[in-house]
């Protein structure tokens, strides 16, 4: 068993034990005519701060603060605990006050984006590996430009060698759109094959108007289009894995800020 798996089991045990204790404590407080929301609220606040610290941990990679893999698993486990504690604290899915409703919206968006991110981190690596084309995401536009240049060179050569404008016309009307930038990103993200279908459809459509020499050039273009299709896949899927954090972190920061003001309001007006 990997050490990270062992740590995850430990985190789950701690989380479940903490939740059971919190429920028991709230019950005892309620029986004693106390206000259980104080304990659950501060527990929730503490958990949120802990979850947000993970973002700082990433920026402090030069100091030994424990392996990030442990932090990730702790983030996932205690993130789940936080959702459970949130419902215990609010007692409902949708709170009453407008301010609390805004806070809840931010909390739900942060939670849902967190769950989505966790799912993506589990699924995306394998999908990228199976794509079979390992490329640094930031370099993909350069790679696409390189493919486009090669495709255009093939088209020019075909025009020179065959004295026919069929392939250049096909490129100008159809393929230049495809090679210009990454295409079918949504389709790629959801695992559909729109890019491959486009290549198959369009090359089949033009093939009947070409002679053997031109078909040779079309074959080269098709090969480049398939490489480009794989690059598009990497651009879409790897991009999604990078972009979701740009939503999750601001939402989490929003929750934190709104939470601080919520605590101040509670202390000023209710306690």
């Amino acid at each position: 068993m990997r050490s990270v798996h062992r740590a995850t089991v430990l985190f789950w045990l701690v989380a479940v034990a903490a939740f059971v204790f919190l429920i028991w404590n709230s019950w005892q407080t309620w029986l004693a005519n106390g206000e259980p929301a104080i304990v659950t609220g501060y527990t929730l606040a503490g958990l949120m701060v802990f979850l947000f610290i993970f973002n700082w941990r990433k920026k402090l990679s030069m100091v030994p603060l424990g392996r990030s893999a442990y932090w990730t698993m702790a983030h996932a486990v205690f993130g789940t605990l936080t959702i459970a504690v949130f419902f215990v604290h609010t007692g409902s899915f949708w709170p009453n006050g407008v301010y609390e409703q805004v806070l809840a919206v931010f909390f739900y968006l942060a939670s849902l984006s967190g769950i989505l991110g966790y799912w993506m981190q589990r699924v995306i690596p394998r999908r990228l590996t199976e794509n079979g084309l390992e490329v640094i995401w930031e370099r993909i536009p350069y790679e696409v430009a390189e493919i486009r240049n090669r495709a255009e060179a093939i088209v020019v050569e075909s025009a020179e060698k065959t004295a026919s404008d069929t392939l250049p016309r096909f490129y100008a009307e159809t393929l230049s759109w495809y090679f210009r930038r990454p295409r079918y990103l949504v389709s790629h993200f959801f695992g559909f094959q729109s890019g491959r279908a486009f290549i198959r459809r369009e090359t089949a459509a033009i093939s009947r108007y070409l002679d053997e020499t031109e078909r040779g050039y079309l074959g080269e273009l098709e090969e480049l289009a398939h490489i480009k299709n794989r690059l598009d896949f990497a651009w879409a899927v790897n991009g999604a894995a990078k972009i979701w954090l740009l939503f999750h972190v601001p939402m989490a920061a929003g929750v934190l800020v709104l939470m601080v003001w919520h605590i101040i309001l509670v202390h000023v007006y209710l306690l």
Binding site: R67, E134, K242
Partner: protein, 535 residues
Amino acid sequence: MTEAVVDELMTFPIFRDIDEDRFPGNTPLRGILLNDTRVTTYQPGEIVVREGDYGNSAFLILDGHLRVVLNPNLPQNMLGRLSVKKKGFFEALGQLWTNNWRPEVRDPERYQNTQAASSSGAMAGVYLQDIPAILDEHQTAQLGPEMIFGELAALGRVPRTASIFAETEARVLEIRWQGLRELRRFDTTWKEKIDLAYRRNALHNALKEAPMFRHLTGEQLKAVEDATLFETHGAFDWHTSYKRMLAQGREMEHGTPIAREGDYPDGILMVRAGFARVSARIGNGERTLTYLGAGDVYGLEELYRAWKDKDDSIVLETSLTALGYLDILRIPRQVLEEFVFKEMEPPQTKLRHLAGNEISADALKEWAVGRRFINGTRAMLIDLNRCTRCDDCVRACAATHGGNPRFIRHGATFDHWMVANACMHCADPVCMIGCPTGAIHRSISDGSVVVNDDTCIGCGTCAASCPYDNIRLVQVANQRGEPLVDGEHKPIMKATKCDFCSSNPGGPACQRACPHDALRRVDFRGPDPFRGGYQ
């Protein structure tokens, strides 16, 4: 080296007696002396070579006397070694605000001092202070004129086995391995002299360290030494042919055959330096069963069985090929049967049994051998089925190295594994060959291969030698981002590479920063690099 010094060298009998006509026109004797040697004068107490250092040169004493320290070795601090100072927690944290946002910023003062030192031709030597006390406390031996030493490290690319210092003022001729190789190739006297010394010392050290010979008496060990043959296979500078091979897409080729499956085992083969592949025939090809490194033995099982069962029909069950450069000792059957087998436990491993594994189970091993990743002791292995390509590892590396990462998260892939372009801190660090200033060296504290930024002259020799393209030259700048230039207004370049975060607390930042446990630094010589990690 000047023509005048070469003229003087040619008056020494060891060079005067050489038949210059045996040297080809493009590699004349005088050319070798001019380009591959230098004369250094050492003052009494000055250290010439230090035990544990990797060196590329052998030495010939011209005049004066040196002392070799035999036992015990000199303490590390006495050898003038400074282990890398680990940063404290707050010092490491301080990089948050001390890192310049511009990459590769350096303090120009450091290089001014370096230039001054090099222009004066002075080398900062390390001196032993109390020579009489050293002679009292350590067993030493005197080395006199015309003696050659250091050929072990120069030709075998192994660490120096002993420290040597000047007893009197001594002039010493340092011969680079390239020069030594040429002298050995074209002059029989030099060949005999070098081989004799090399063979004697190498054998003695290697046999002394092998567990199977520990029970032998001095006389018995001497008998084994006398019977043992010393062999070298493959090319010393294997990295050049390896790079050519990769460029031509012939990565799965395996090197020089040494022993073939089905052959009669006439002795065991003990690897002294380099790597060898053990394989067995399968179909029309060879299947890699395992690979052997320094200290590993081949052919022992078959020989032991033949001796135990008194069966002379037993043949080798596997083949052995050199992967790049390989130094081996061939210890004949007769001496093993006479001195060794009677006292030793039956060998446990049966290499041939590895052939019982599923064929696909060995694919990773074949890949690691084919790409020579087996050279890596701390290779960056990424499990692509876990890696989200978030680049937290790259950012962590940059944060701990002044804002510029020391590796590229890209590299050779097989199935869902990637060996990224990060220094692997090789067992056979060919990058260290030819560094003119010794800037690239092994760290004393943890054995990682590091570059001394102050003494690196940016010549790019190491980057060109690295078979895995893991060293990069960068242009350095001052605090204002202006490129630093030398006296001729050329930009100052520096070699950069992964230093395994040797000065940072907590080990390699890349591995620590990976949120998905996908990146590990692994020793390919370990039991299964695709399971364990560097500890």
